[in-house]
């Protein structure tokens, strides 16, 4: 018998996901209140590619709308969605818990407090310090939720639900801390409040540039750990018997996932459920190995949030639904479905 292939990311699922993402991005770029001509948008985008020169025929105003408003917003949505989904998948691997999610674990709320602190204290434009403060907050949030969850487990309860409950408790607590910070600085209230609801309204190129380096490091680290998360899925002790130092892998992945969460939260506020919905769909469709789940969640999350943002800014146009509201509307029921599906597999 010839040696078999291991679970790997195969070209077809990768291509399909990439195509879905490309279609979502294009749709998001074409649709909007300014009513840009589709052909002109496509030409103008092609013109920006290296070695391609086409005349888009777009008026300077339209070009401005495309490149200074729509493009950064669409890209930021994609980046945030990818980060949240890949972070969710990574948390699920580390905690061996299919319901782990940056939002439910307290990571997002922690990042929110960290980012708010910086915004309140430094009050002018968000700076490079925002993602770092959000990162510190995210790590603190996860540590708190995990610690609380473990303590509760020793008291009798066990497993999946305990961690999520602890995460919800931590999130609520951190939300109240955040509320206090806002009240203490009332003149910033409006800005922070719209930011908490989750949105991409502040999107511009400097914002993208601000998180790019951190996001790149986080994503690269996570994608490199796919195989190790697969090994970790047999539990710490067996992983140790297989020569893996589980705590080292866990710490690295936790740090990277929290950094990814922090980047997303720092620029878009609190957007829930992306981290549960996307990895779960990927698992169902393409396989459970983290070598598949991590990269496809990254692309799928990007596509998901791009579409969610498109929906958010079109269904009640000229108004806008906050992005977090759209994802919660889809994700809430979905979460219940996942909870039902995993009840048989893991103790709750």
């Amino acid at each position: 018998m010839k040696a078999r292939e291991a679970a790997r990311l195969r070209p077809v699922p990768l291509a399909v996901t990439a195509l879905v993402l490309a279609a979502a991005l294009l749709a998001a770029l074409l649709i909007g209140p300014a009513g840009l001509p589709a052909g002109g948008v496509v030409k103008a985008l092609a013109d920006r590619l290296p070695f391609v020169h086409v005349d888009s025929g777009l008026a300077p105003v339209d070009r401005n709308v495309l490149f200074e408003l729509r493009l950064p917003r669409v890209l930021l949505g994609a980046v945030v969605g990818g980060l949240l989904a890949v972070a969710g998948a990574a948390y699920q691997g580390v905690f061996r818990n299919p319901l782990a999610d940056p939002y439910l674990l307290g990571a997002a709320a922690g990042a929110g407090v960290g980012a708010t602190l910086v915004i309140v204290v430094m009050s002018d434009r968000p700076t490079f310090a925002v993602p770092l403060a959000a990162f510190a907050g995210a790590v603190a949030g996860v540590a708190l939720a995990y610690g609380l969850g473990s303590t509760a487990r020793r008291g009798g309860g066990s497993g999946t639900a305990t961690l999520v409950l602890a995460g919800v408790a931590v999130s609520s607590f951190l939300a109240s801390v955040q509320a206090f910070l806002q009240q203490a600085k009332a003149e910033e209230l409006q800005r922070i409040y719209s930011w908490i609801l989750g949105g991409l309204t502040l999107a511009d190129w400097p914002t993208l540039a601000m998180i790019a380096p951190y996001a790149a490091v986080a994503v690269a680290t996570l994608l490199l750990h796919g195989r190790l998360l697969d090994v970790l899925s047999v539990g710490d002790e067996e992983a140790a018997a297989l020569g893996l130092s589980a705590s080292r892998v866990r710490l690295t992945v936790l740090a990277a996932a929290s950094l990814a969460t922090a980047c997303a939260v720092a620029v878009s506020g609190l957007i829930g459920f992306v981290g549960v919905v996307v990895p779960h769909v990927v698992r169902r469709l393409a396989g459970g190995s983290y070598r598949i789940v991590l990269p496809l969640s990254l692309l799928g999350g990007a596509a998901f949030l791009t579409v969610a943002d498109l929906v958010g800014r079109t269904v009640v146009a000229p108004g806008e639904l906050p992005l977090g509201v759209v994802t919660a509307f889809v994700g809430g029921p979905f979460f219940v479905a996942v909870l039902r599906a995993v009840r048989g597999e893991v103790d709750t």
Binding site: M1, R4, R227, D230, E237, E238, L242, G243, G288
Partner: protein, 261 residues
């Protein structure tokens, strides 16, 4: 590879679990650790695997202290099949077997063609090729036990540690697994250490038994010397009849208190 344990004390959360345990398992032999529930059998195996830190005494696998070895080197020396393995649902038998190659794969690297060839070869030996693409959650109890064994064998370690390999198996599958381990031991010269509840089964296959009771070695040696009615009575609280079987190895059977009228 010889496994030697000398004067081993292990505490778990401050509670003494093993006290002054010694055993010697020469290369290529099968040693079975027996004893009542809570005697510390699994803890002894974990100490040999280098997963529990001894409080006192030494463990030596091929001359090295497994606790002090880097994890990857340790995993190339001792392979482990746990009593209640975590079988990630959805993972295929092949991928699960491939996990056994972890100690040979660079930390952030990927499996080589050789790793896949070793996994394939192991599946062939255990007659699991037909199941290679089957997800773990769709296996019978006997298949599951063989798959866990396959993962351990893929580690290509000279010492094989099995925690209760026959629990939850019917008598036919018990025999199948024990015969399999015995064949692998003889073909590859593996040193096998198992815990096992079935005393007759232990006596049938092991070269030496170690009777552990309340964390101490109560008796050790060839099955015929360790498995006596008195020893089983004293340490398991069971009344049994021990008689040599057709091959001279002891057969342990329970005695009913009121005989049939």
């Amino acid at each position: 590879m010889t496994v030697t344990v000398r004067g081993l004390d292990v505490d778990l959360e401050g509670r003494p679990v093993l006290r002054d345990v010694s055993l010697e398992a020469p290369a290529g032999t099968w040693t079975a650790v027996i004893g009542p529930n809570g005697a510390g059998k699994s803890t002894l195996l974990r100490a040999i695997l280098g997963l529990r830190r001894p409080r006192r005494g030494t463990v030596s696998v091929a001359g090295a202290d497994p606790w002090a070895l880097p994890p990857r080197r340790r995993a190339r020396l001792v392979a482990y099949a746990p009593q209640n393995p975590n079988l990630p649902p959805g993972m295929t038998v092949f991928d699960y077997t491939l996990l056994g190659r972890s100690p040979y794969i660079p930390h952030l690297g990927r499996e080589s063609a050789r790793d896949r060839a070793v996994a394939t070869e192991v599946l062939e030996r255990l007659d699991l090729v037909g199941l290679a693409a089957r997800p773990l959650d769709r296996l019978s109890g006997g298949e599951r036990q063989r798959v866990v064994l396959a993962r351990a064998l893929a580690q290509q370690a000279p010492v094989l540690v099995l925690d209760e390999p026959t629990t939850a198996l019917d008598i036919g599958h018990q025999q199948q697994v024990m015969e399999l381990v015995d064949r692998l031991r003889r073909d590859d010269g593996l040193t096998v250490l198992t815990t096992i509840h079935d005393l007759t089964l232990a006596g049938q296959y092991a070269d030496a038994l170690v009777l552990l009771s309340r964390g101490r070695v109560a008796a050790s040696g060839p099955p015929g010397e360790v498995l006596t009615g008195e020893a089983v009575g004293a340490h398991f609280g069971a009344r049994v009849h021990v008689a040599p079987g057709p091959d001279g190895r002891p057969v342990v059977s329970l005695e009913r208190s009121c005989g049939p009228r």
